[in-house]
């Protein structure tokens, strides 16, 4: 009876408040898209840089690793006195959390490119930029993509915390549900985030498989 009631109210919430949760989900997605773009661009660039400039490798990986281990709520707590609340600090916090897998996989991906392919490219007259763009990055792509997948999926689940720094998103539904003892709303929010995260991970996983197949030797 109790259980039925819970599922029922969840369903009711999903059906009656569809406008609200869909727009909230969209704003969630937008945050994730922006955070992921930052993470991908910065992460790949930094990953490439540390394959070329040895001295900064330790620092870059160390700092990114530190960001990765600090709980996101602690990061946000740090930002509120510095930058106030809103989208900007939320994006920065998410980017800091997600950048390690992209840097690490870019670095590892480029390093695992077989010397024979690099030599073939250089031997045919590729300059440094051409070597990177036409040989190293494409051959590292499956590994880089695996890092991107990890970062994006992590961003998607982490973005639920954005509510604590005033950036809204799906966290709003969960938090409001909690505060108003609206179990249907709470469960609906949780389900949407959980299902969307799993779906996203599966889709990206499928793409990753395709890429790996395409690059098979």
């Amino acid at each position: 009876m109790e259980k039925d009631h819970l599922w029922m109210s969840t369903w009711k919430y999903l059906a009656s408040k569809s406008d609200f949760w869909i727009s909230t989900l969209l704003s969630h997605v937008m945050i994730v898209v922006w955070a992921s773009l930052i993470v991908i661009v910065l992460g790949v660039v930094l990953g490439i840089l540390i394959t070329r400039i040895k001295p900064i490798r330790g620092v870059v990986l160390g700092v990114a690793g530190l960001f990765y281990t600090i709980p996101i709520l602690a990061l946000m707590g740090l930002f509120i006195p510095l930058m106030g609340i809103g989208l900007k600090p939320a994006l920065i916090a998410l980017s800091m959390k997600g950048i390690l897998p992209v840097i690490r996989n870019t670095y590892a991906g480029i390093n695992q490119v077989s010397p024979k392919f690099k030599e073939a490219a250089i031997g045919m007259g590729a300059n440094r930029a051409q070597l990177l763009i036409r040989t190293e990055l494409p051959l590292a792509f499956p590994v880089i993509f695996a890092g991107i997948r990890t970062a994006v999926v992590m961003n998607f689940s982490m973005a639920t915390y954005a509510v604590f720094i005033g950036a809204g998103a799906m966290g709003t539904i969960i938090l409001v549900g909690m505060r108003t003892f609206n179990d249907g709303m709470l469960l609906a929010g949780t389900l949407i985030v959980a299902i969307a995260t799993i779906l996203l991970d599966r889709i990206l996983g499928w793409i990753e498989k395709r890429i790996q197949k395409r690059f098979a030797l």
């Binding site: 045919m124 007259g125 590729a126 395409r214 098979a216």
Partner: protein, 367 residues
């Protein structure tokens, strides 16, 4: 050789990896249009020597000239673009189609798309694969086909010089022979200067105009197939081995072993078996005024000074051309159970004979 141009020259070139000297004071000159083979045991420095030509590996000392220019004064990227390179283990880029692999060099040089398309079609035809292969990925074609594509890729920008590092290394002997034949056929039309690394002596004899044998970083000996089989060096002799001698015979032309002083008489002349010219000979060849050979007569058929009649004239069978290989001539002798063969030019002029004895003796010229 008519006005030889030297395309690659090494002057006392050495290469150190740390303290280890992997290439040791190497000297050679490679002529334009020649296939120069570098051969030697694994680890003797063949690949290193090859890579110093396009400066994939910088040399430690000595001087290297490519088409007359000191390589240290050239932009390495430009240098490499002017030289085709077939790397050991093929190295086709797995993320690119055969078309993009073949066009890789052209793409690096920003050659217009239309030209690239035409060139890819030309090249795939040149290496004898169907057009449809252009859209496949390297892992979708066989090892032998990949090696062909590796050669096509190196030829894409039509470089004058081609470096080939064991280009036919990873295929079965039959395919390998086929690829060698294709290369030689191709070379007739493209006439590139090639530096060809292998560790197969038969391959070396087959494709090489000249061969350099390396050992522990040193170029021990260098020369034509004939020079190589005549080498005195114990290492070289052991390295060539007995089987490879047959391949060497394949590259040595019959004219090197012709016995030209065999006795000849003209049509209508009489034969005196006691003639001192015929001492040590069993047969006498009969030629007409034009130098054409009509046949030969056996001296045992003549008791005294006697005219040559048509009954006594024996027909010349299975003559060989001066340009035929010794292998072919020896094969013919074994097949026909004969100790010698007449050598006759395409025009029918009698040149002399070739015998087992003469073949053996040229392989020991300087004994």
């Amino acid at each position: 050789m008519e006005n030889t141009v030297i395309d690659v020259e090494f002057q006392n070139v050495s290469k150190y990896y740390g303290k280890e000297k992997v290439v040791d004071e190497v000297n050679f000159r490679i002529n334009r249009g020649e296939i120069f083979v570098l051969i030697g045991p694994s680890g003797c420095g063949k690949t290193t020597t090859l890579k110093m030509i396009n400066q994939l590996v910088p040399h430690s000392s000595g001087q290297i000239f490519v088409r007359g220019k000191n390589v240290t004064e050239l932009d390495p990227v430009e240098l490499r673009r002017s030289i085709g390179y077939v790397i050991q283990h093929i190295g086709l880029l797995p993320h690119l189609t055969i078309r993009d692999n073949v066009n890789f060099v052209l793409q690096l040089q920003r050659v217009p798309q239309k030209k690239q398309r035409e060139r890819a079609n030309e090249l795939i035809k040149m290496i004898g694969l169907p057009d449809s292969y252009l859209d496949r990925y390297p892992h979708e074609i066989s090892g032998g086909e990949q090696q062909r594509v590796g050669v096509a890729r190196a030829l894409a920008a039509d470089p004058e010089i081609l470096l080939m590092d064991e280009p036919f290394g990873a295929v079965d002997p039959l395919t390998r022979e086929q690829l060698q034949n294709e290369l030689l056929r191709l070379q007739k039309t493209i006439k590139k200067t090639m530096v060809f690394v292998t560790h197969d002596m038969q391959e070396a004899f087959k494709v090489g105009n000249r061969i350099g044998i390396m050992r522990r970083g040193q170029l021990v000996t260098m020369g034509t197939a004939m020079d190589i089989v005549n080498a005195k060096d114990d290492f070289v002799r052991a390295f060539i081995g007995r089987e490879a001698v047959f391949s060497a015979l394949d590259t040595i032309p019959v004219f090197q072993a012709i016995i030209r002083d065999c006795p000849v008489i003209h049509e209508g002349d009489a034969i005196d078996p006691a003639d001192p010219r015929f001492k040590d000979w069993e047969n006498v060849f009969v030629i007409n005024q034009n130098g054409h050979c009509l046949g030969y007569v056996s001296l045992t058929d003549f008791k005294a000074h006697e005219k040559v009649t048509t009954e006594k004239l024996r027909e010349i069978t299975s003559p060989c051309l001066p340009s035929d290989s010794l292998k072919k001539a020896i094969g013919e002798m074994l097949w026909g159970k004969r100790a010698w063969l007449p050598v006759v030019t395409k025009e029918g002029n009698f040149e002399g004979i070739v015998s087992f004895q003469s073949c053996v003796s040229i392989l020991a010229l300087d004994d």
